[in-house]
Every structure is written in structure tokens, then in C-alpha cells.
């Protein structure tokens, strides 16, 4: 979230799209209801009518996987009807930048496409620079090569008619949403967007989010109270785990994982440290070396020295151009290329796409280590349906782990609040925390390496590993403090003209003080400042003061970065630092300082040509990107059909599917696009009552009582056509597998008219597995394809094709 | 000895007496327990019997006994209690209980009052049993049936209870000599001549014939 949960109450229009907030973020919905009480409009755009729809002002159904078309139409509407916030667009975005004249877009493809590699050469996705290397701009936004004109041309193709035909949303409903939402382009109005897995679980997931970002920038909704783009992340602690690098390409704090071609620290830092020639851009990532070297110091401690590049060479490196996502992992495993797997707190035999492939892949492992609070389908795959234990040689270890309430530590919410929590109960039996499991395992590994040596032994032997208390258990505070960072030497710092001496071993008060010379160590730079210099654990703060009245609660827990509650908050003010909406002041420049939230840097607003800075300090150019060349698919999002859909041709271009997604080609990766055998669009989701694969919640009798078994939601029209009775058993099948479940015939699913044809959509939750309950059916992911987003490889769970038959 | 026997007539057989007392006993017990359940002020009843929960089951149990006894009594006495034209006259004169009358029609075995009592007991007894069965398991019945069963049960109790008192009075001190009919089974000839002359005559005729 750029903003935070409580801030939802400050919104005037809340667009919930790609999220079933009421069911999956019940507490977020509390604040949405507060906004509604204050008169906000709440709109739900979603393939299904859900419990969220029931509480919104209205619900607009759209065909699953067509969000970019829907939002592209909104961009077109905003530009043609001049609903954008011009001042904001000109000053705070790259709308005025002139694009490389060689950049082009033709029939669904941007310049530089390599069909063989299914990827782009991004050479032309650049700006025209002046002699100083600063991008050329046209503040009138009229220059045909400026970003704004490109944007306008690109989305002019997204006419109401076209969008309606792709999405299945009536033109009337499109207009209703567009009009209402784009009204937040007024300076004193805030519109926000709440999304979740309904957007990320697509082959075009990242680009859907980007399309919305463009809308938010056009309407001036970024950085303001009640605005932003808000990924609702929940109990799985996605926020915390991504902050701490759950994704294979990241290191803690979103630093980049090194690749093999970056052999030296110097090469690595050069590649990842952006430079900018515009003096008004803060380009905060120029501090990248400080963050990275401090991280190496936290990893290797005293063994990391300038002479050995702080141990850079010991780090494992990714092969260039190779990916290591879960999809790749199981593909490789299926082909016999993986020996062992640690599956902690996860149940891929239910939750990963293409269950048949996943379960077969597990059979090819030599060993599998699971750590969970209950047994699950992954740990028990070897005696599951269709598995022959006699033929399976995988050795499986199931370690009993402590549950979240059984351990102390931090938990991050979507609003980037890192909240400290205490242990409520002692774990039963032999169960210990995953941290303790890790520590004991690593101790043993270190001992083995010390004794026997082995490949890359230094990276293990040099690992700083001092996170234990006197009893030899994990000391979670020690870990947290190392994440915050320490001084590795006595250092004198000049801060605001004052000299100050920091002692070796003391806590670093903020990431602004991290250094690349080895005098600081920090496990995750964005978390630096979570402890005070004096050792105060700011994550444990529980102050209820709310000086701005906007619900920022600065003394409640710690929010990264540096306790900033709304990021890009300098963009809530005009170039002189006057708030655009004086009624909801996030920040205000008083002539010598900012008051309100923690500002994005202390510099004056950008009207001060000397000391002032642009508001988007984390962006190299200091402004937000309408033109976003970092994306795999192109700088402007474009609608492509899902890998499997009802259409044989993309109505917008001859590019049917996302041209940059990786296609897996094993024998079990079958695809059936626009096939008569699988005529219905299918989407999958979770339900309130269960949590993810249900591996935790299915064992909870009260929850199981409410949602006892797998069901498929079918509209009344389709049920009538197929003569399926409500509550009867049916079979749902795709090109990859099938499941049996209960038909839930409902008025909440209605057919769409797509390109003149009636298209039905059905949906299933993915919360069930064969292990328990025995009569609750099995994984919905037998149906889903192993394909993912081109940037993140987040799997496509939300749009594919199935058939439904009576049994 | 023989003289005594000569003066006495056997008016009931043991089966009849057992049935009567089963019916009367269960009825009385139901009434007693029922009142104990219905009136919280009569707490002494559940206290006496070991608590309200026990009383509930006692009530149900004696209700079942009552039901069987009633069914048996019905089969046994329905012939003797069938109404005949003379009964109207008897009733018109209040059976001679309320004012002096001289021309009461001669009664066969049971007078019209007794017959009335019998039929009231049969009808309301059946109602109380049936409604009681519904109340035992009300959720198995439509809600209206269940609800009205409670009212009906209470109404039937009211009717049966009141008649019971009349019956008690007339069967004991109201009609001296009657009570033996349900104890020893023997009543005096004179009693028979008063209360069931036609039956006596028929019986004596029959016995002289044989």
C-alpha cells in the first residue's frame, strides 16, 4: 500500500477492483465503511458478485482477465474529457518528457520485440536528453513525442464500444464508473484503489496495477490522504515477506539479487545504482551502495572487509536471463532437475497451479522438508490420491512448527506498519518456531562444513550467526536489531551542523546514516529506524495520538520507510508546498520545514529551484512514470487475452496473449484456448472462512462447519442450460485436470456478451485438499495452468477455461 | 355369610377394576405432576418428587400409562356407555341430584351422567394424550400444531380435572355404597336397584334362567 488501512476512510471514491475486500480483508472494510459513512462512493468491479459487492454502492461485473481493457478505457475517458489534474500531471509525472523518436507501438507490439526470446530489447524505450543528460520536456504536453501524447494515442484505441465488447461490461456501466471515478481528478478530491490477488494472479498482473497507477497519476491521487494504490495484503504477511525478500530476484529491502555476469561488487553496484543529471531529482537510490554494503556487513560481520568486497563473491548468483520462480522451480523439479525442497508454511500440492504437475514433480525429489503446524497435502503427497508409495523414493521430513501466536516478533501489515507482538502461548509438544528450526539447522550445517568443507564453504563458514540467547534459542530481538542495523566502528557524523559520535555496536538511527565503507551493518535498510538509538523498539509503540486527524497515528508501531505513513506525500502539495486539499493536509511546507506526516525527504518543495526537490524521490527522475520502461511488456500497458480464453483473436491487435510471458512446455502443460471442449471462463479464489490452501483452517472445526467442501459457483442461466441442480455434485475439468464438487447455483454469476457471443463464467475456491476433510474434495489447482506474469511470475489463477458436467 | 352374599351383587370384575384404577391413578398422577409443572407456586410437588426434571419424565410416563388404560377402558366400557334415548330424560332431570324427581328412567348399567363422564374422559383423554405426544416432540410437527397442542393440553386438563372432582365426589361420599364397586367389586342389591335397576333385573333374569 502506498497509503495504509485507516487512510481508506479519507477517500471520496473507492474503487475496489481485483479484490474481494469484505471477504478477505474484513478489517480493511471497516475503514471502507467509515468512508461510506462520510459520503464516499464505493464501487466494485469484479467478475463475481461477492460479499464485497453486497456492501458497495454498486457492482459492475467484467470478464475475468480484461482489467487492462477496462482501465485503458478509463484512461481514454480521462484524457478525452480532460478530467486529469493538469498541474499534477505536468509537474509530478513524466508526461512532458520527450520519448525517443524510434520508440513505436504497432499492432500490439512495442519496438524491439524478439519473438524467439519472447522478450524486448528496450533500447528505444528511452527519453530524449538535453546536453546535460537531462530529459527534454514540453510542459504544454502538446509535442507529439511527449509521453502524454503517446499515452493519448495508445489509449485512444480503447473506445467504449471496444472495451465493452472485450470486457462484457455494458457501455452504460463503463461510463458510470469512468465518470464517477475520474471526478476525483479535482484537486480536493481523493480516489483510491484497492486490489489484491484479483489483479496479481494474471499473466498481465503487474501491468494491470500499472494501468491503475497511470490513472491515479492522471487524477493526482498519489501521495494524498484517501488516495494511492492499495494492495490489500493479509494474514499471509505478504507485505512482511516481500519486504524481507521472499521473491527470488530480491534481497532484503528490495535490493537486487546479483547475477553471474556481475562478477565484482563494483560491477554490481554500477548496474544497480541509478544516476541522474537533473539536480532537482533526489534520486534517493543513489544511496544503493550504502544499503547493499551494510547488508553484506550484516551477513558476514567482521569477515566482510573492503579487501574482500565485503564478501560479495561469496553470494550465490542467478544465471543471467534465468528465472527461479515457483513456476520454474516445479517445472525443473518435474523434469528431475531438483533434488531437495524446503516447504515451510506452504502447501504447494494444493496451492500451486497445475496440481498434477506439482504432485508428480514432488515424486522426483530425493528429500522434502516441511515445517508446518499441521500435516498437509505436500508433506503427505506420497500417499495421496494417485500416488503409489512403493514407487516413491522421496524422503519426507515434517517438522512441527510453532504457530504465529506462539512466538514473539514483528508482523507487517499492508500499510507497511511493522508491529511487534508478543508470544501468547507456548507451542505444543516438540514444536518450535521456524526461526529456531533455521538456527539449529544452520548450526549443524556450519559444523559439517567446518569439519568436511565443501563447495563455496566460505559463504557458510563466514556467515555471522549470533542470534541465540543463553539457552541456545533464537533471540528474536537480536535478529530485529541486526535488521535495523549497527555501527561497526566508532563514527562521527555531522547531522544538521552538529557533530555527533556514534559508538561501535550501537544501533543505527536511520538508513540515511548507512555507509558503504563497512562502518555500518544493516539487515534490511527499509527497516532501519525501527529501533531508536537508545534501543527503543519502535515497532512495539502503541501511542494513539493522531495530530493530523487523518488517522496517521505516528506513534503506533513503526512504518517503513522512516515511519512515513503515506509515501510520495510531497505530491499532496503544489510546487510551493501548499496542500492541494486544505481539509485533508498530509503535509504542508511552512517556509522552513514540512509539517504533518514524515515527508519524503527534508528538502523544500520543487518551486525552490536551488534546494527544492521533485516529490517522487525514489524515482530516478524524481517524477512518477506514466511512461514506465521497467516493465517487461512495454512502457504502456496493453490488453492481451489470458493464456486460455474464449476468444481466438484479441479484438485490439493480432497479439492474442501477453507476448512476453514464458510458456512451459512439458507434457502436462496443456492449453485449450477458445476450445469447444472447455467453453466456460473459470476463476478461482479463496473464501472468508478459509485461509489460502486451507491447510490451517480446514482443521478448525468451526470454520469447516461454515465452508465444509469444495463448490463451484454457476449462474442460473448456465445451470439451467446444463440441467444442474443447486447442491448437486458436478465435475469441473480443464485441459490439465478435473475436480468434483458441489454446484452452487446462484444469481450472482451472469453471462457476458463478448464479441457478440454469450460467455459464461464459473468460479471455485481453492481452499480444499484430500488430506482433510476426507469428503471435501481436492485441489482446485488441478484445473489451473502453470503460467505467470511476465514480470513477477505470479501464477495465473484467475482466468482459464473449463467445462462443467453433471455426475 | 350366605345372607351377605345374597344381599350383595358383583358389579365389576377384577380386570375392570384394575383398568379403572390404572386410569384413575395415572390420571391423578398426571394431574398432580402436571399441576406441579404448570404452577411454579406449587413447587412442593417437584420438591416432593425429586425435582422438576424427574417430574417431567414421571408426567410423560404416567401419561403413557394413562393412554393405554384409556384405550383399554374405551374398548371395555364403550358398549355400556353407549347413549340411549332414556338418557335424555335422565339428564333433563339432573339425574335427581339437584332437585327432587320421581320419574327418573330406570338406568341400565351406567346412568347418563356416568356415560357423559366416560365420554368426556375418552374425548379429552384422547386429546390430552395426543397433544401430549406432540409436546413430547414438538419440533416434529408443524409449528401451529405444536403451539395449539399446548393450549389443548391445558384445556383438556381443565376439563378432565374438573370432571375428576365430580367423579370423585359422586363415587365416594356423594353416593354412599358406590366406592366398593371399584374396591371389592361387590355392591348391595339395594344399591344396584337404585343405580342400575335394569342391569340388575336383566342379570337376575339371566341367572334364574341358567
Amino acid at each position: 500500500m502506498t497509503n495504509h488501512y485507516i487512510d481508506l476512510k479519507n477517500s471520496d471514491v473507492i474503487l475496489i477492483m481485483g479484490s474481494n475486500a469484505a471477504e478477505h480483508h474484513p478489517l480493511a472494510f471497516k475503514w471502507i465503511m467509515r468512508a461510506k459513512d462520510a459520503g464516499a462512493r464505493v464501487i466494485h468491479v469484479d467478475p463475481r458478485y461477492t460479499r464485497t459487492s453486497a456492501r458497495c454502492d454498486y457492482h459492475v461485473p467484467l470478464r475475468s482477465g480484461t482489467d487492462i481493457a477496462f482501465l485503458g478505457g478509463m484512461i481514454n475517458y480521462i484524457i478525452t474529457n480532460k478530467k486529469y489534474f493538469r498541474d499534477y500531471v505536468v509537474n509530478y509525472t513524466n508526461a512532458s518528457f520527450l520519448v525517443n523518436p524510434d520508440f513505436s507501438f504497432k499492432d500490439g507490439l512495442f519496438s524491439g520485440y524478439d519473438a524467439k526470446k519472447r522478450s524486448y530489447n528496450k533500447e528505444t524505450w528511452t527519453f530524449q536528453n538535453d546536453a546535460n543528460g537531462v530529459p527534454l520536456k514540453d510542459p504544454t504536453l502538446e509535442h507529439p513525442q511527449c509521453v502524454f501524447q503517446h499515452l493519448k494515442r495508445h489509449y485512444s484505441r480503447y473506445t467504449l464500444e471496444k472495451v465493452s465488447s472485450i470486457t462484457g461490461v455494458s457501455e452504460e456501466n463503463l461510463l458510470k464508473v469512468y465518470e464517477e471515478y475520474s471526478a476525483t481528478g479535482a484537486p480536493d478530491k481523493a480516489g483510491t484503489e484497492c486490489y489484491a490477488l484479483g489483479w496479481t494472479h494474471h499473466t498481465t498482473g503487474s501491468q494491470i496495477i500499472r494501468t491503475m497507477s497511470i490513472i491515479q497519476l492522471l487524477l493526482g491521487n498519489m501521495g494524498i490522504a484517501g488516495g494511492g494504490i492499495n494492495a490489500l495484503r493479509g494474514e499471509p504477511n505478504v507485505q512482511g515477506s516481500t519486504d524481507h525478500c521472499i521473491l527470488y530476484g530480491n534481497l532484503p529491502g528490495y535490493l537486487k539479487m546479483p547475477t553471474a555476469s556481475l562478477a565484482t561488487l563494483g560491477q554490481y553496484l554500477k548496474k544497480n545504482t541509478p544516476t541522474c543529471n537533473d539536480p532537482q531529482s533526489a534520486n534517493y537510490y543513489q544511496n544503493y551502495p550504502n544499503f547493499f554494503v551494510s547488508w553484506l556487513k550484516s551477513l558476514y560481520g567482521n569477515a566482510a572487509t573492503p579487501e574482500n568486497e565485503f564478501g560479495y563473491s561469496w553470494l550465490p548468483k542467478l544465471d543471467d536471463g534465468k528465472h527461479y520462480s515457483q513456476l520454474h522451480l516445479f517445472d525443473r523439479m518435474y523434469k528431475g532437475g531438483v533434488k531437495g525442497l524446503f516447504a515451510y508454511g506452504t502447501d504447494p500440492a494444493v496451492s500451486s497451479p497445475n496440481t498434477n504437475k506439482v504432485r508428480k514433480a514432488l515424486e522426483k525429489l530425493d528429500w522434502l522438508v516441511c515445517a508446518n503446524i499441521f500435516d498437509n497435502e505436500t508433506a503427505s503427497f506420497w500417499f495421496g490420491p494417485g500416488a503409489d508409495p512403493k514407487q516413491i523414493k522421496t524422503e519426507v521430513f515434517l517438522l512441527p512448527a510453532a504457530a504465529t501466536m506462539e512466538k514473539e516478533g514483528s508482523q507487517s501489515n499492508s500499510g507497511r506498519w511493522v508491529q511487534w507482538k508478543y508470544k501468547a502461548a507456548t507451542p505444543p509438544g516438540d514444536a518450535i518456531s521456524c526461526g529456531d528450526i533455521q538456527i539449529r539447522m544452520m548450526d549443524a550445517i556450519k559444523a559439517l562444513y567446518a569439519k568436511e568443507g565443501g563447495p563455496n564453504a566460505e559463504s557458510i563458514l563466514n556467515l555471522k550467526w549470533d542470534y541465540k540467547d543463553r539457552q541456545g534459542n533464537m533471540d528474536v530481538l537480536k535478529v530485529a536489531k541486526q535488521i535495523n542495523g549497527h555501527w561497526e566502528a566508532d563514527v562521527e557524523v555531522v547531522d544538521a551542523g552538529q557533530k555527533k559520535l556514534f559508538k561501535k555496536g550501537g544501533l543505527v538511527p536511520t538508513f540515511g546514516m548507512l555507509r558503504s565503507d563497512g562502518t555500518t551493518s544493516c539487515g534490511n535498510w527499509i527497516m532501519s529506524g525501527s529501533f531508536g538509538e537508545d534501543g527503543e523498539n519502535k515497532m512495539a509503540r502503541r501511542g494513539k495520538e493522531d495530530p493530523t486527524g487523518l488517522g496517521l497515528y505516528p506513534n503506533w508501531s513503526f512504518a517503513w520507510p522512516v515511519n512515513r505513513r503515506i509515501i510520495y506525500n510531497r505530491a499532496s502539495c503544489d510546487i510551493y508546498g501548499r496542500p492541494y486539499n486544505p481539509k485533508k493536509k498530509v503535509l504542508e511546507w511552512t517556509g522552513d520545514k514540512w509539517v504533518g506526516d514524515v515527508p519524503d525527504g527534508p528538502w523544500p518543495p520543487m518551486a525552490d529551484k536551488e534546494k527544492g526537490k521533485y516529490p517522487f524521490i525514489m524515482k530516478t527522475d524524481g517524477v512518477a512514470s506514466l511512461f514506465g520502461p521497467a516493465m517487461a511488456e512495454g512502457p504502456f500497458p496493453e490488453h492481451y487475452e489470458p493464456l486460455e480464453g474464449p476468444l481466438a483473436k484479441n479484438p485490439l491487435s493480432s497479439q492474442l496473449i501477453n507476448p512476453t510471458i514464458e510458456l512451459f512446455s512439458s507434457d502436462v502443460d496443456q492449453v485449450a484456448n477458445a476450445s469447444e471442449k472447455f467453453p466456460y471462463v473459470c476463476t478461482t479464489y479463496s473464501c472468508t472462512e478459509h485461509w489460502c490452501s486451507g491447510a490451517l483452517t480446514r482443521w478448525q472445526a468451526w470454520l469447516l462447519e461454515m465452508q465444509p467442501e469444495l463448490y463451484v459457483e454457476i449462474g442460473e442461466e448456465l445451470a439451467r442450460e446444463l440441467e444442474i441442480a443447486n447442491g448437486s455434485k458436478v465435475k469441473v475439468s480443464s485441459a490439465r485436470g478435473e475436480v468434483t464438487c458441489i454446484a452452487m447455483v446462484t444469481k450472482r454469476f451472469r453471462p457476458f456478451i463478448i464479441e457478440g457471443k454469450t460467455v459464461h463464467q464459473v468460479g471455485l475456491p481453492f481452499n480444499y485438499g484430500w488430506l482433510y476433510p476426507k469428503d471435501g474434495s481436492d485441489s482446485t489447482n488441478f484445473l489451473t495452468p502453470s503460467v505467470g506474469d511476465a514480470n513477477t511470475f505470479c501464477p495465473e489463477y484467475k482466468a482459464f477455461m473449463v467445462n462443467v458436467t453433471r455426475i | 355369610m350366605s345372607g351377605k352374599i345374597q344381599n350383595m351383587v358383583r358389579v365389576t370384575d377384577p380386570i375392570e377394576r384394575i383398568a379403572h384404577w390404572l386410569l384413575a391413578g395415572s390420571c391423578l398422577f398426571c394431574l398432580f405432576t402436571g399441576l406441579g409443572i404448570m404452577f411454579r407456586s406449587w413447587e412442593f410437588i417437584p420438591e416432593l418428587l425429586g425435582g422438576l426434571y424427574a417430574v417431567k419424565w414421571m408426567h410423560i410416563f404416567s401419561g403413557v400409562v394413562f393412554a393405554f388404560a384409556l384405550a383399554y377402558a374405551y374398548v371395555m366400557w364403550k358398549k355400556d356407555c353407549a347413549f340411549e334415548p332414556d338418557d335424555a330424560k335422565w339428564i333433563a332431570q339432573g339425574g335427581g341430584y339437584l332437585w327432587k324427581t320421581n320419574n327418573l328412567p330406570p338406568v341400565y348399567k351406567y346412568n347418563a351422567g356416568q356415560k357423559l363422564f366416560f365420554w368426556f374422559v375418552v374425548v379429552f383423554g384422547a386429546l390430552i394424550v395426543l397433544s401430549g405426544l406432540v409436546m413430547w416432540n414438538p419440533t416434529a410437527f408443524p409449528i401451529a400444531v405444536a403451539r395449539w397442542s399446548y393450549a389443548l393440553h391445558a384445556l383438556s386438563a381443565l376439563v378432565i380435572g374438573s370432571f375428576f372432582v365430580v367423579h370423585l365426589y359422586l363415587g365416594t361420599i356423594g353416593n354412599p355404597g358406590t366406592f366398593q364397586a371399584m374396591t371389592t367389586g361387590w355392591c348391595s342389591r339395594a344399591w344396584c336397584e337404585t343405580h342400575c335397576p335394569r342391569w340388575l333385573a336383566e342379570r337376575e333374569k339371566g341367572s334364574s334362567e341358567s
Partner: protein, 262 residues
């Protein structure tokens, strides 16, 4: 002691059917789950049970304008002022608490089931094994301890709130105003006022299992107000009459025929 009457207000226009309340109730009251099947609805268990004192009812409804609505109603005891269940309860197990709510003391319950049929809202449920009746007691123990009921505490959207009677009635009507009069306040106009009230978005008749004009059933009134007293009055009167008869007319003596009369 001054009585503080409480009302629990259920604002169905805020409810997201997350069923936090349904689980919280089970948790606080330590009620076990039942093994259910999906019968083609999110609603589960299908109905209130002895171990399910509150239940979110899911209902798909198309209104007069043809607009689709998914209605959620948290069902459970309404805590009537004129409570039919208390009226018929012989054991004193059901009673009015000092908060005006209807408590239930399972120790006293004899499982006669009278309350089950009497309740106009079809709330009490019988447990075959314990032979007792169960229902929501508005978390009497928690209220006594100055705590909110478990369901209220669990509700993320403040669809359920509790407070003093007058204030809550006031709040209900203010909310109705906020909704532009689109809705119905349910609970203050019958059975002497209930201590659980609803704000409904639709007409009460639309909702499954919600009586439009709930009242103590006529059968109960007849039974309790007429037949019950008359049982004693009737029996007493008849006994009195018999005594009078005995005194006035004396016993009906058998006129012994003298020997030789014939």
C-alpha cells in the same frame, strides 16, 4: 438497583457476512461444531442449532425494481420484553436479566421444549443428549463483567453494536435517516420491544424466517392466561359445588327396599 436495559443493534446494511460473529459466539460459549455439507449456499449450518446460537442467513433477492441484492441477516434470539419463552417456561430456566435481556439457566432447564414452539422467532434449540434447550443469552456473563458480547466485539464493520436502550433506538433511527429512509427499523414495535434490533434494508417480509408481526402466539395466551388459571379455578369451583351439594342435598342415599315390600 437501577436497571440498565441494553439493546444490541444489528445493522444489516453494514454486515459483510464475514461470520466473525458466528464463530466468536461459538468460541466464547465453547460450543462444538457440527459436520455439515455444502447444500448450495454459503449459509452453514443450514439453521440455528443447539450449538449454533447465531447464524448469518444468506439470501439472494431481486427487488421490485429488478435489482439484485444479496441479503445477510444475523439470526438469533431477539430478547423480547414480552418473551413467550419465559411465559411458557415451567422451570424458571428462562428469565429476564437485569439488562432486560433473556437469560437461560441450563441447570434449571428440564427440556420440556415448551419455549421452542412458543417463541415467535423460532429461536430455542434442543439438545437430545443433554436434554436441555440452548439459545443466545446476549452474553450475560460478559455483560455482567462490563464486556461487550463476543459477537459485538468480533464485528469488523460495526454492524453489531450494543448500548443503552434509548440511545440505541435513537441510533437506529438516525442511521435510517442516513440511509435516506431506505430501510426499516425492526424490533421496537412488538412484543414489548426486543433487546436485539435490526436495521433492515428491505421490507421485513422479504427476509427468510423473519416474522413480519411477531407476537406471543394466541395459543400461548389462551393457555397461560385462560386455561392455566381456570384449571385451578375449575377444579376448585367443582369441588366447592360438590361440597355445597353435600351440605344442601346430602349424600344420595340408597333407599333400601324393606324385606317384604314386594
Amino acid at each position: 438497583m437501577k436497571k440498565t436495559e441494553y439493546i444490541k443493534l444489528i445493522d444489516t446494511t453494514r454486515c459483510t457476512a464475514c461470520r466473525g460473529c458466528q464463530v466468536a459466539c461459538k468460541q466464547w460459549n465453547e460450543m462444538p461444531a457440527s459436520r455439515t455439507r455444502n447444500f448450495g449456499s454459503y449459509q452453514n449450518p443450514p439453521d440455528l442449532q443447539w450449538n449454533t446460537w447465531t447464524l448469518i442467513r444468506f439470501q439472494e433477492h431481486v427487488d421490485k425494481n429488478g435489482d439484485f441484492k444479496w441479503l445477510f441477516r444475523k439470526d438469533g434470539c431477539m430478547h423480547c420484553t414480552e418473551a413467550a419463552c419465559i411465559k411458557v417456561c415451567p422451570s424458571g430456566a428462562l428469565y429476564h436479566t437485569e439488562f432486560g435481556t433473556v437469560g437461560i439457566n441450563q441447570k434449571l432447564c428440564i427440556g420440556c421444549k415448551a419455549c421452542i414452539s412458543a417463541c415467535p422467532f423460532d429461536i430455542p434449540r434442543f439438545n437430545q443428549e443433554t436434554e436441555k434447550v440452548y439459545k443466545c443469552d446476549l452474553c450475560y456473563d460478559r455483560l455482567k463483567g462490563g464486556q461487550q458480547p463476543a459477537c459485538v466485539l468480533s464485528c469488523p464493520t460495526s454492524a453489531i453494536t450494543i448500548g443503552e436502550r434509548e440511545a440505541m433506538i435513537d441510533k437506529a433511527y438516525r442511521r435510517l435517516d442516513q440511509l435516506g429512509g431506505k430501510g426499516v427499523v425492526y424490533g421496537d414495535k412488538f412484543v414489548g420491544g426486543t433487546h436485539v434490533m435490526y436495521i433492515l434494508s428491505e421490507d421485513p417480509a422479504v427476509y427468510d424466517k423473519l416474522p413480519v408481526k411477531p407476537r406471543i402466539p394466541a395459543s400461548v395466551i389462551l393457555w397461560k392466561n385462560l386455561f392455566k388459571p381456570f384449571t385451578l379455578i375449575g377444579m376448585g369451583a367443582v369441588a366447592g359445588m360438590a361440597a355445597l351439594h353435600y351440605l344442601i342435598k346430602g349424600p344420595h342415599e340408597v333407599h333400601e327396599k324393606k324385606e317384604g315390600d314386594e
